[in-house]
Amino acid sequence: MTRQTITLDTLEQGQELSRRSFVKGLGLGAAVAGCALVGDVQTAAANSTATNGAEDEAVGVLIDLTRCSGCHACALACKTANNRPQPDVAPAQLDSGAYSFIDTRTLANGDEAFVKRQCMHCLHPACVSACTVGALRKTAEGPVVYDSEKCIGCRYCQYACPFGVPTYEWDNVLGLIHKCEMCFDRQAGGEQPACVAACPNGALRFGKRGHLLAQAKAQIASTPDRYIDHIYGEHEVGGTSMLYLSDIPFAQLGFPTFGETTVSGNAESMMQLTPALAAAVATVATGLHLIFRRRQQVAEFNLRQSKKANQE
């Protein structure tokens, strides 16, 4: 009888003990998770204030495709400005040797159309969100810039970019990523991007994104037969700093169709859960360990007692 009582006492004490430490663990975990969430809310708030209104003040380029004659002057000037090889050969695609090119497209009716391609300088760039080491950065001024000193060449940015813009230096033993930076260094010196300065047809206009959007809308309103009623980049993937006007629907020109949400939204909300998830898993695992270890100890104790009883 006494033996039985001891066992029960131990059992209850044990359960009480494990329950108490489990609750304590939970409290600690909740505190950590709470701090993490507060931190997230704060960064989220900081992000939204940084982008509200500031987006319109940041610079961009308005590309009027109806004025493009396909002369390649922009693409050649781009090569020269960025010290790319063969500066007098017009590029036919984006690669580590060309940050911009004129995409010559044959339409269904046999006509040719020219589309200047380069980095779209998204307002919420997925490449910046994805980059392992933060080598890509959206500047307050507008351009998405690249720090070649940080880059490890993982090429995740190539998958995250919805426009297939970043390119890798495949021929180099120690390769890096290459992309248009909207001539960020030229802008610092008070100059326009090289492509804008080189265009002989006035198809490229550099300025504050808010102004460019207003001008583009005014152009569509005043000459509705010249343009389709769509400014590509106003809303796509949350908006881009490069904006396009066209007389041909963008889907026919090889522009991908996107909604207004950023590509990296799902991943970012998951990443923000990381501290809370870590705290929760560690807490639950510790709690389970304490409970199951206690059960095991009690079971072993009971087994020993019953063996002893049998021997006696």
Partner: protein, 384 residues
């Protein structure tokens, strides 16, 4: 003098290395050596000369096997949780082989990652430059920290060769807290591998792209972990010439069955929720999805569904192999087969150096595992 040389000649290089199957050691060593040559060659060649990668397919079989191998190495955290969190003592004998799979798996992962990096000389940059939004940044940190955890978890088997006792005592005192940290780190980065693909809604085919990807990657890593734990336990017993406990493998098989059912429900539920059933009839992608689910999930679950079947030797080998194949195919689908490429993108057909280096790294990990289990890591029953 003459007797000495005779005895040297008669002595095999590795006495009873793999239960009398030394040729396995020979083949693995040969493949590993070839892999090292190919890998070192790649580091001096650059990616154009050594791979078939391009701007439209800039991740190839290195990344596919890498992400598959991370799931396989989930054997370490899965068994650590079974033994040190849930205290299911009856599975203790399967713990050490699984932890060793985990550690060597992550060594292989690191080797593959370094080969794939454009700047392998900067592999440590994630320690210096932070991007808290980046899934790859988090994965890098977790893999680094978790490799340390695995080294501590495996260390008792090696510390017993030391003349001092205190390192062993320290390692044993740390084992439970370190295991819990390991389970936490694994939960984070196994799920973050799924988050990694959330950044490419425009590139991943709709049957695979879902906000549930982090959860799916996590659950499937437990499936792969349990499967490899079963196979590692059986292989370890064979290497030591000991009889494998059928009930132990059957018990892990039961766990695999339940986790597999959860995975199946998540996959099918996601398809229903996203209203994507029609996509299954839509040509190649639909067939690929069905193959992945039928061969890698449904068939092994059927094999494991009855208690008597779970005890059968055939099921204990076939079901884990099918699950591992299915998880590897899932990672390859996400990385390559279910990726949408721009029109006119060159078709990726892996370069011979990509194959040789990948096979070599896997062979080196397998070889190290065989030798450690045979000569260093002790059977739990003898250790106690």
């Amino acid at each position: 003098m003459s007797t000495k040389s005779i005895s040297w000649q008669e002595k095999p290089l590795l006495p009873q290395a793999v239960a009398g199957k030394d040729w396995i050691i020979g083949i693995l060593a040969f493949l590993a050596l070839m892999g090292v040559t190919a890998g070192v060659g790649r580091l001096f060649m650059g990616l154009r000369a050594s791979t078939a990668l391009s701007d439209s397919t800039s991740w190839g079989i290195w990344i596919g096997f890498d992400f598959g191998l991370i799931a396989f190495a989930g054997a370490g955290f899965t068994m650590a949780a079974v033994v040190h969190v849930f205290h299911l003592e009856q599975f203790h004998r399967a713990l050490r082989p699984a932890l060793l799979v985990g550690l060597l798996g992550y060594m292989g992962v690191l080797a593959l990652l370094v080969l794939d990096l454009g700047r392998p000389d900067r592999f440590y940059h994630f320690l210096l430059y932070y991007n808290l939004h980046s899934p790859l940044f988090e994965i890098s940190w977790c893999v680094l920290l978790y490799s340390t955890v695995l080294m501590i978890e495996v260390s008792p088997d090696f510390l017993r060769f030391l003349p001092w006792r205190w390192p062993m005592r320290a390692a044993q005192a740390l084992i439970v807290p370190v295991s819990i940290i390991g389970v936490t780190l694994s939960t984070l980065h196994q799920s973050t591998l799924g988050t990694l693909y959330l950044n490419m809604p425009h590139r991943l085919q709709a049957l695979w792209y879902t906000p549930l990807l982090p959860l799916l990657f996590y659950v499937s890593s437990i499936m792969a972990g349990l499967s490899l734990s079963i196979l590692a336990y059986k292989a370890a017993c064979r290497l030591r010439g000991a009889a494998a406990d059928r009930d132990l493998s059957a018990g892990l098989g039961k766990g695999l069955l339940w986790i597999g059912i959860i995975y199946l429900l998540l996959k099918v539920g996601e398809l229903t929720w996203a209203n994507e059933w029609a996509l299954l009839l839509d040509g190649g992608y639909g067939r690929l999805w069905l193959l992945e689910m039928a061969a890698g999930v449904l068939l092994p679950l059927v094999l494991l569904s009855r208690a008597t079947w779970r005890r059968a030797q055939f099921v204990q080998i076939a079901a884990p192999l099918l699950v591992l194949g299915g998880v590897l195919l899932n990672r390859f689908d996400a990385t390559l087969f279910a990726q949408l490429f721009p029109a006119g993108a060159p078709v990726y057909s892996p370069h011979i150096l990509e194959w040789l280096s990948t096979i070599g790294i896997l062979a080196a990990a397998a070889l190290a595992w065989l030798l450690c289990v045979r000569f260093i890591v002790r059977d739990e029953e003898h250790a106690h």
